[in-house]
């Protein structure tokens, strides 16, 4: 009997922990939404967050996008060559990036570059009593710290995804047109023919906006619940990257099933 209890507890503990975390994240989302108007009275806080989370991530996003585009160019060229349709390379690169790789990889890179930073910052603010000091000064940390980071993330991620896609397409162009001497006009015209603004571009933007909300929420939540110790903050940053990556991949599957 004791063995059965142990097995049930082993299954139950992570499930209840997951439900508790999910409810915590949803409560944080609700609090952030309620306090949204405050942030619009302090736009400089949002601009600061966009700078730290978004602008400072541009380099990693553009470089990664460029390499991903080049890999797509190489793989696409090899595969399409077998069917004699290398002229479709522009479409393959663009559609893969706009629909899937752009939003997904940008969100994962954002989680690693900016999300972990957000968690560490909030966790350290907690450890050094800065959040407590803010509360005692009658300033809500949700309003002053969480909401600007939340809005900053929502704005930054789709813009970074756009940059990732642009760099990726140029990476594909470099491999296809510059290295493999494909026709320059065919590359762009095939892309223009097959990419739909509504179906591909807008859906990609919706995806990356949802990923932006998810990653930023996870990052601020993990910072908020981090144990106020060096080890606690370190664990929280790790959890941010792992949870964000898994959530983004799972959400991508659901969104792709619904959208395309």
């Amino acid at each position: 009997m004791q063995k059965i209890y142990t097995i049930i507890a082993r299954i139950g503990n992570p499930v209840t922990a997951f439900i508790l975390h999910l409810s915590g994240i949803l409560r944080l989302l609700l609090a952030a939404l309620i306090n949204l108007p405050y942030s619009f009275l302090r736009p400089q806080l949002i601009v600061k967050e966009i700078y730290y989370s978004g602008v400072k991530s541009i380099l990693i996003i553009v470089v990664s996008g460029w390499f991903v585009g080049m890999v797509l160019g190489l793989q696409g060229y090899n595969t399409l060559q077998r069917f004699g349709s290398v002229s479709m390379l522009g479409s393959v690169v663009a559609l893969t990036l706009l629909r899937e790789l752009g939003p997904v990889l940008t969100a994962i890179l954002y989680a690693a570059r900016a999300g972990s930073g957000i968690t560490a910052e909030i966790g350290l603010m907690k450890a050094t009593e800065q959040l407590e000091a803010m509360s005692v000064m009658a300033v809500s940390p949700i309003k002053r710290v969480i909401v600007p980071k939340f809005i900053g993330g929502i704005i930054a991620v789709p813009l970074l995804a756009a940059l990732f896609n642009t760099a990726g397409i140029w990476g594909g162009y470099f491999v296809g047109v510059v290295l493999f001497k494909l026709d320059h006009g065919a590359f762009w015209s095939q892309m223009q023919d097959s990419v739909s603004l509504h179906y591909d571009v807008i859906n990609g933007i919706i995806k990356s906006s949802i990923f932006g909300i998810t990653v930023t929420l996870i990052a601020v939540y993990q910072g908020f619940i981090a144990k106020p110790t060096a080890e606690g903050v370190s664990n929280a940053t790790t959890r941010t990257v792992v949870s964000s990556a898994l959530s983004v991949l799972a959400l991508d599957f659901i969104l792709t099933a619904l959208m395309f």
Binding site: E121, L124, M125, T128, E129, Q130, E132, A133, M134, S135, V136, M137, A138, V139, S140, R144
Partner: protein, 267 residues
Amino acid sequence: MQEYSVLMNNVSFGYDLNRKIVNNISLKIPKGKIVAIMGGSGCGKTTLLRLISGQIKPDCGSIQLFDQELNNISNKNMLSLRKRIGMLFQFGALFTDMTVFDNVAFTLQEHTNLNADLINTIVAMKLHAVGLFGTQNLMPQELSGGMARRVALARSIALDPELMMYDEPFTGLDPISLNVSATLIQKLNKSLNQTVILVTHDIESTFKIADYIYFMSKDGIIAEGTVDEIKNSTNAMISQFIAGNIQGLYNFEYPTTLNYHEYLGLI
């Protein structure tokens, strides 16, 4: 009739059920007075300040802040009460992503509609009061520990609060800074009729500026009185604490069932 800024009645609090941090405390903080709360490390003095500022709720007992019961207060009322209090944290708690100026100006920018010039003037005055005028553009990490605590002091008094709570304001300060801080606390108390709750171990400074002293231990308030009453107290624990004796009723060592000599295999 004596008015009170804070009234605590039979307040107990613990972070878990088995360990009470604050045990059945009752105290009265009269308006406009400097009240010191003294006691050994870990007896719950900082937790007491957290209870008064509404950051944590007591397990039992009642706390009244400016005549409002904190047990069932709404968030909105709690926020408006907090605008009337200031708190100096034990380690300063300066915002590390802001300059000294932005730290001191923080509450002024958040809670007032003062123009930038006026805020600039007030910040300069507060920093001058703690002897740090000219540090406006420095970041907290560029300050020494003592300087950071003085900036935190300037920040906590920016709005001239009715009630100031100081958590170990004299720790880590050199004698001059300590004297400046003690004098400033007293000046603010006199000029603004500010109520002061002073949590400290510094006996000399406390005896110099306090109007009333509460002595806390893990079991609650063990003594209270004016400075003279405490100085002349016959309570063995108070005498031991003031004299700094290791031996006595005040248990310096952690309560444990282990025997040190036995543990090391010496007996």
